[in-house]
């Protein structure tokens, strides 16, 4: 396989890992106002993701860095073209990250309430905007002969991309609810289970609409097959959440996200950012990539270190595998 294809796949894997992992911690952040009746229960919810959210976020940083290294043209066009949405995402991630760390550092109710809002908004906006961004990438954006995005901000707010945003929002929320139910016991487990049940039902029509729209406009065999698999995984989540089989339900929502990202990238290939101004202007794995030498270096680095990263991150999840209850949270 061509190294450019390998790196296209690796970047897909990084995004898939990002949505799988940060997907549920966004979901927990979004659900914070709904599952936390008092400070202690909100702390319970936050602590389910406490040890892992920071490591999850690194998947984004590595996806960004890998894109810069392997597909500099893609990185440059995408990040400068989507300037304002990325700015909103950056601000969200900043206030969210600080909020986790600072929320408990003072006792006042107002203090905590403000940081709770920061966690909620900081989780909500990226969960939507990543979907909008990928919706636009799939749909194609106006890119000129110099690989510059010429569409402005309003262009990004089209119905298809917004539906993409709604889809990632629904999926992250569902994924987070299932995770909360999986990681807690007692009333919060029950409450999160009920939300998961509802969200599973809500997600299906939204995701189905997005997938069908994608299938119609970009229909290609593998993309449709993977979309269908994602849809099946999502539908499977409904009875599993209803039966409160949290582990299996989490596997199902996780598979949904993984398959959806896979579908997205397969549909895109060999483009990385199609242009609506003419196919000749599209960024592809070939015209956006680094030289074979750089790709070779990066491949060795990835081959050697990815398994190490996966094993210690996996170990973290194993260490903190115990379900939490209110009695674990100091008064």
């Amino acid at each position: 396989m061509d190294l450019t294809t390998v790196w296209f796949l690796l970047i897909a894997v990084l995004w898939a890992g990002y949505f799988l992992l940060e997907g549920f911690d966004f979901g927990v952040g979004i659900l914070l106002p709904f599952v936390g009746r008092d400070d202690r229960s909100r702390r319970l919810a936050i602590n389910t993701i406490g040890p892992v959210w920071d490591g999850n976020e690194v998947w984004l940083l590595v996806a960004g860095g890998a894109t810069f290294a392997a597909f500099p043209e893609w990185y440059a066009t995408l990040f400068s073209g989507f300037f304002l949405p990325l700015l909103i995402i950056l601000v969200s991630l900043i206030v969210r990250g600080v909020a986790f760390e600072y929320r408990g550092k003072r006792a006042g109710a107002t203090w905590k309430k403000r940081w709770d809002v920061a966690i909620f908004v900081g989780s909500l906006l990226p969960a939507i905007l990543w979907g909008v961004a990928f919706g636009n990438i799939l749909r194609g954006v106006p890119i000129d002969a110099n690989h510059e995005y010429v569409g402005g901000f309003v262009n990004l707010l089209n119905p298809y991309a917004l539906l993409g945003g709604l889809t990632t929002l629904a999926l992250c929320t569902l994924h987070g609810a299932v995770f909360l139910a999986l990681k807690t016991d007692g009333p919060m487990r029950e409450q999160a289970g009920q939300i998961a049940e509802t969200m599973a039902l809500v997600s299906v029509p939204i995701a189905a609409a997005f997938l069908v729209w994608t299938g119609i406009t970009h229909g290609d065999g593998w993309g449709i097959a993977l979309s269908a698999a994602a849809a099946i995984a999502l539908v499977t989540a409904i009875p599993l959440t209803r039966a409160r089989r949290e582990g299996w339900a989490f596997a199902a929502t996780g598979a949904t996200l993984l398959l959806a990202v896979a579908a997205l990238f397969v549909t895109l290939f060999p483009d990385v950012m199609p242009s609506t101004l003419g196919a000749a202007y599209s960024l592809t794995v070939h015209n956006a990539s680094s030289t074979p030498y750089t790709l070779k270096v990066m491949t060795w680095v990835a081959v050697f270190f990815t398994p190490i990263v996966l094993s210690y991150q996996g170990w973290t999840y194993w260490i903190f595998r115990k379900r939490l209850t209110l009695s674990d949270i100091p008064a």
Partner: protein, 460 residues
């Protein structure tokens, strides 16, 4: 101001802001790891209390260091897309390695450290903070390798309109990287040492918790001195490498317009506004020649000759950085670093054995030490980045052509304003929390309770 100017301000503000927190993170993680090691080995409770106390201050800082790091990575693509297109093949590799090899390590193991107090065996838990600390240093290494390439591009060739990597080994092991990394890392330790010194001085002046803060004061002062010495030595080597690779930066650092043999170093100069004429100065004979070449009579090239040389080499244009900025940032970097070392020396002297300083002035000086390395670090970055202008990649690619054509002035202004306001708000919150926790002193360690019904020692 156009989008490019606004992007430059954003980059400068973000970088300086990010680098207030990063050195504390790098230095303090290792010092906390050292204190925890002392506790694990000796079992003495005051080490555990010190670990928890400094650990808390470390985490308050770490949070902002991490989130501003995301801006650093994103703004290359957002504000500097032409630069990214030109250098991505070379510059992206160390950046991606930083993510894969360092960011994962520090954030994952820090999560394990924060939440693992009750879950991990003592020694494994100790290993987590060391691993996180090593991660922060690896991170520094890779990003400084990338920056060093901008200062002195190696291991590349000109491809179709862009720089292409020919040797990753050259990029990762070039001289510039190898002198910059120890200079920056020792500066990080200097910063963390000064923090220990300052906070301990504050408590000791009030007679608080001598058992925790007296050892911390000494540790901090020793770290400042030893690291300071390291900063000096590495800085000296770096100055020579810089003179060789970027003579213009050295000339601008000294506002030296005419090529001179046996050049003196001006400690302080009052001159005309454009820096071209000197009104009054304090000078140390031959020091500049020594710094630049390693000998007292070495010839140091002046700005005028270098400007003419550059025009010949790169075509017409202004190749002189803003001289007052480089001149003063260079002096303030050295001055504030030296001042911190001086206070550390006085602190050690007046606290030797069982002694205490007589007056309160030394305590006050001790408390202010915290600011000195932070200022020195900021001026150091301002010097090294501003001194490279007009280039983003020295001799290869200009700042003027590095911006994002698709980003409008309005967008760039929005980015600059939003981020600056956010940084300002976060700074106020951070300082407030920092003072609260620094002022609260080291926590008492509760007596061990029954394993089964103990709540977890959560940080959140």
């Amino acid at each position: 101001m156009d989008a490019l100017d606004l992007s430059r301000w954003q980059f400068g503000i973000t970088t300086v802001y990010h680098f207030i927190f990063v050195p504390i993170t790098i230095g303090l993680s290792a010092l906390v790891a050292g204190l925890q090691t002392a506790w694990v080995r000796t079992g003495k409770e005051h080490y555990l209390r010190a670990t928890k106390f400094w650990g808390k201050l470390f985490l308050i800082n770490f949070a902002i260091g991490v989130v501003t790091g995301i801006v650093q990575e994103f703004q290359f693509g957002m504000n500097w897309s032409n630069y990214s297109r030109f250098v991505g093949d070379v510059f992206g590799a160390p950046l991606a390695m930083e993510g894969l090899l360092a960011f994962f390590l520090e954030s994952t193991f820090l999560g394990l450290w924060i939440f693992g107090w009750d879950r991990l065996p003592k020694r494994v838990h100790l290993a987590t903070i060391w691993t996180a600390s090593i991660g922060t240093m690896l991170s520094a290494y890779f990003i400084l390798a990338a920056n060093s390439w901008m200062q002195h591009p190696v291991g590349w060739r000109m491809g179709a309109g862009r720089a292409e990597l020919t040797s990753i080994g050259a990029v990762l092991t070039q001289k510039t990287t190898l002198v910059t990394v120890p200079h920056t890392l020792t500066a990080c330790f200097l910063t963390a040492g000064a923090l220990l010194l300052a906070v301990s001085a504050w408590h000791l002046r009030k007679g608080h918790q001598e058992e925790v803060f007296r050892p911390s004061l000494r540790l901090g002062a020793w770290v400042v001195l030893i690291a300071g010495l390291g900063v000096l030595i590495t800085g000296d080597v770096q100055a020579r490498v810089m003179t060789e690779q970027q003579p213009m930066k050295m000339a601008a650092a000294e506002a030296l317009y005419e090529t001179t043999g046996s050049a003196s170093f001006s400690v302080f100069t009052i001159g005309s506004l454009d820096g071209k004429e000197e009104v009054w100065s304090v000078r140390i004979p031959s020091l500049l020649s020594f710094m630049a070449t390693g000998g007292p009579s070495g010839t140091v090239e002046g700005i005028n000759d270098l400007q003419a040389e550059s025009e010949q080499k790169y075509g017409p244009g202004d190749y002189t950085p803003i001289v007052p900025v480089t001149y003063w940032s260079f002096r303030l970097m050295i001055g504030f670093g030296g001042l911190a070392m001086l206070v550390a020396l006085l602190t050690l002297w007046s606290n030797r054995g069982e002694r205490r300083p007589k007056g309160r002035w030394l305590w006050i000086a001790g408390v202010t030490t915290v600011a000195m390395p932070l200022l020195a670090n900021s001026f150091g970055w301002i010097f090294t980045e501003m001194g490279r202008q007009p280039w983003t990649v020295f001799g290869l690619f200009k700042t003027a052509g590095s911006g994002s054509p698709s980003v409008s002035t309005g967008e760039a202004a929005t980015g600059l304003i939003v981020l600056t306001v956010l940084y300002g708000i976060l700074a106020v919150i951070e300082v407030g929390l920092f003072l609260k926790y620094a002022g609260a002193g080291a926590p008492e360690i509760p007596a061990p309770t029954d394993e089964a019904d103990r709540p977890l020692a959560f940080a959140y």
